[in-house]
Subunit: 240 residues, 2 copies
């Protein structure tokens, strides 16, 4: 499984992905699920992915390879909408290519988040379903999730709005990951993370957060202690 | 869907169930999912259920009816283990009875939590799978969940241990329900709740908590405000 979150906020975009892949519980590996396509000063496109690793990697590899070719690709399409159509088309192409008798009964599907900004257009994040159709996050629902989304959803539902500042949104996202990782073995450290500032059109460095990252360790502990305190401060139930 | 939690703690047992049933999103009703079988001073057995409503109700009705008959039933078996075998047998019986051409393709399965205490034996809670086999909560993992369990699981994983006092466990459980209800429409108020004190062998009143219950409203707000504060107090991320 996988857990990815993308947020579209007034001030920018936040992307966080875990890096655990598993084929059965005895075959666990670390693979990045966050990929960046950028032309500094002109565009930043971030892909996050969940699902079949072979399919996800092929889609990203084809998208990367084709940026050297003459056709439409992620570094020359005019809008993020068109970039998302490209991702969806490539996803369908890979699944069609690999679907054969040998893969019968295997789930080849992957899903993607595509987000970023291209000069002259607003920021956007899209959720591409395994079938290739897609929808966009809005100011009403400013975040998207892929994969094992339920454990970490309440903290986002409770606290994240379109107006949430980037720093606070990132903290909220990291807590969402901590809650998921504590409760589900199929989501694991390290995390890959990218924070994009609106209209900067620069690709900030992708950060990798390991389980002994000092900041992550600190907020995990502070959050955990804080929750215990909050719970202890709740008034005693009046029910006999 | 449904959400039920049962806790087996040093001081007693806590049971909480939601009451929403739905057959499609346009057919939503309120049905209790928590049932009590008791002989004051001698035994308390609590059933919680998730899954097909017709199956769940039939199982409970048959178990209830049979307490008037001569055979083994929930009010005369010697141990909670035997009570759980009865529930499992009755579950298999109902599913076998109702399985026919007309119900082909319909999921008739239900799952159950069976918990309580019978004089002379320790308390226990069991989780009965839809297939009728079952397992017991232990001091290592002192809670069981049925149904839509993921949203409300982190707060239990983080805070609940076998030594948690009953009052605190109940608060923790109610917050787990609040998180679930906020994020998932298929789980809904009112909640049914029962707190059993170890060795009392008395059936405490089943409490019904409605969405305007003063205590529930208060802890929801206090929790929500507290989380916002905790999040705001986390240090700013050092990542650029």
């Amino acid at each position: 499984m996988t857990y990815c979150v993308a947020m579209h906020l007034a001030d920018g975009l936040v992307f966080i992905s875990d890096s655990r892949t598993n084929a059965g519980i005895d075959q666990i590996s670390t693979f990045a699920k966050l990929f960046v396509f950028s032309l500094p000063g002109e565009r930043l496109i971030v892909l996050q992915t969940a699902g079949n690793l072979a399919t996800s990697q092929s889609v990203v590899n084809l998208l990367r390879q084709r940026t050297q070719g003459p056709g439409p690709h992620l570094l020359n399409v005019d809008t993020l909408y068109d970039a998302t159509v490209l991702v969806a088309d490539t996803l369908r192409e890979v699944v069609s290519r690999d679907r054969c008798k040998l893969t019968a009964g295997i789930d080849l599907t992957s899903s993607f988040i595509v987000g970023g900004q291209i000069a002259g257009s607003p920021m956007a994040i899209y959720n591409v379903y395994a079938q290739g159709n897609f929808f966009q996050a809005t100011t009403d629902t400013p975040f998207l999730q892929l994969g094992e989304s339920k454990y970490g959803r309440p903290i986002l539902d409770r606290n994240l709005t379109y107006q949430t500042p980037l720093d606070e949104a990132l903290r909220c996202g990291l807590i969402s990951f901590d809650s998921t990782i504590r409760s589900n073995l199929s989501v694991g450290m390290p995390l890959d993370m990218l924070v994009y500032h609106k209209d900067s059109l620069e690709a900030p460095a992708r950060q990798r957060i390991t389980s002994d990252d000092a900041y992550y360790v600190q907020i995990r502990r502070q959050w955990s202690d804080g929750l215990k305190r909050l719970l202890a401060e709740l008034p005693a139930p009046p029910y006999s």
